[in-house]
Symmetry: C2
Subunit: 346 residues, 2 copies
């Protein structure tokens, strides 16, 4: 029997279907590879990109030269432009504003051959430190209402430069997916004086059936109402609304959790395309005479990462309803990922 | 400059990007074709499917034999099951219910070689009459809160049987996409005593720049805040909340609009994968002591069809924000589709 499951954080149902593909081997497919000559993200081609705005250079080398371990540059082909005013106005019944924002690329490692799943926890921790540094800088720009950090992997996840990288997009609005979560967490806190996500993590740790990894710092689990097969969340057990307030030590622990998770996914699903997204509170700054507005909304939020491999095709049903059909119950996904033999693929 | 545009019907922004692909030729790609032997939807294989629940048989032939023009069958591999109780209950902080529903297949034409874009207006009108008949029947089942009719075309839109068909799924909940629209239309009507969609259609007809076709019955236009390149809406100019209340004549006129639209899309974009979705009011029936509930919500709604070719890859940004990046301004999409030379491809 198929099952409909409710996610209180998303205020939405997922449909866990039965009788269709559900095990990892049902999702194996040849993964397209991008061929590339003269990769602009490799050592020695730093002049082919816009000048760097952040770099980790353990050898103390000069900017825009080889020697970096992590490097952040503006996207040469940004979806949103950094210069200009919003010029927000009505167009009849519609509204419009200029596409103002920032669009940055975080090159995660110099080695063209190493995907994020090849990096160890400390290396991925440095990527998260780059996220943090850039978010702390970008939040000074009062035009930006949200800083959206994410990674796509694989052609099917819209990647067009194969050298492993993440992205950071600053947008002049809080995205609806995030504002829904903020409002839900706020309402829950007002009613119970507890954080919804803390309570969800507590239930997941008690039930154990959907937990892949619990190291006392971060919980990696397949959410009860997973919309996608092998969808995962990585959340800190310690409550905190703001990713940018995390210590180096916490980001290194997050790197460990991410490194282990990506290795498990790659082993179970043979290098699946995937995306992950950092969910954190919006920057707090004055907003047209309501300086308290975001501050009051955000402390009851709980930052986390959402990750999903791209294994199923989304079409009319999902587009029109907002419901997703997921053929793999999260309990089964967690079981597969817990029991992956990591040695086999090293 | 990129532009953010607000759709008052969806309460969401779309990002119209600049400097990336935007013209039809930028989206041309080899379209994968499904090979099939012994298609279960062809004449002579009626016994391979579950027994038909509706058929148009101009020759008066017996059920489950050749001779039909349109044939509706239960999906042999349904996403939701028709038998059973909902058994709705809590699971800690989560909720769950059984996946109760109906999942039907509308085989649009006996000819395996003809896609919906090959059908004329009267033939597509008969498909819409089948939608109407099945929705009128299914709304008698009080477990179903919404009847969701849609069509996917092409492998990229998750089609796995190539013989042209649509789908009808009855779900035990009003999907969030629909309930958002219902609430927005309701609120608008309460404030202005006018229908929001009537007002939007009026603005589109005045501006003309996004209109592809206006025959006095149906308006075919590219919405101002299109999330996808070449996204379209087909809406009746005469207000009506309920697709099932439409006359044969209106459904034939809708068939004409759809036939012309699909021919234009196929000519401009070389047989793109696409989905279309019927947006209509939920069935009105008593709901746990609130018999007036849906009735009061729905008369201010305005049924229509939403259609989008699947030309861009959706990944982390769209999944995490709910915003879509659309490289083709709707004014340009409408211009291309208006000026397609239909003769060239007949």
């Amino acid at each position: 029997m198929s099952e409909l499951r409710w996610d209180p954080l998303k205020a939405n149902w997922a449909i866990i279907t039965e009788g269709r593909s559900r095990r990892p081997q049902d999702f194996l497919a040849p993964r397209e590879k991008l061929a590339v000559t003269a990769c602009p993200f490799c050592y020695g081609r730093e002049q082919k990109t816009p000048p760097e705005i952040y770099a980790l250079r353990p050898d103390g080398s000069a900017p825009n030269q080889p020697g970096w371990q992590v490097r952040v540059i503006p996207n040469k082909f940004p979806a949103l432009q950094i210069e200009g005013e919003l010029d927000s106005r009505a167009h009849g019944l519609y509204d419009r504003m200029n596409g103002i924002g920032a669009h940055e690329i975080i090159i995660e490692h110099p080695d063209h051959q190493r995907d994020m799943a090849d990096l160890n926890g400390a290396e991925i921790g440095e990527v998260f430190k780059a996220f943090r540094a850039r978010m702390i800088d970008l939040r000074n720009d009062l035009r930006f209402r949200y800083l959206f950090a994410f990674k796509n992997h694989g052609i099917e996840a819209a990647v067009n430069v194969p050298h492993s990288h993440s992205q950071l997009i600053a947008v002049p609005l809080v995205p609806p997916m995030i504002s829904t979560e903020l409002a839900i967490c706020r309402e829950y806190y007002e009613r119970k004086e507890r954080c919804l996500i803390c309570d969800l993590l507590h239930q997941e740790r008690q039930e154990k059936s959907r937990v892949i990894r619990d190291d006392g710092n971060f919980l990696v689990y397949a959410p009860y109402a997973s919309s996608f097969p092998f969808e995962l969340r990585i959340a800190p057990l310690q409550h905190g609304h703001d990713f940018t307030a995390q210590t180096d030590q916490q980001l290194m622990a997050l790197g460990d959790a991410m490194s282990d998770t990506l290795k498990r996914l790659r082993a179970a699903l043979r290098d699946p395309p995937y995306s992950f997204i950092l969910h954190t509170a919006p920057p707090i700054h004055p907003r047209k005479g309501r300086p308290e507005y975001w501050g009051s909304l955000t402390f009851d939020y709980h930052w986390h990462i959402e990750l999903a491999p791209k294994l199923t095709k989304v079409a009319g049903f999902e587009w029109g309803t907002g419901f997703h059909m997921n053929p793999t119950p999260p309990e089964e996904a967690a079981d597969f990922l817990r029991n992956v033999d990591l040695e086999l693929i090293r």
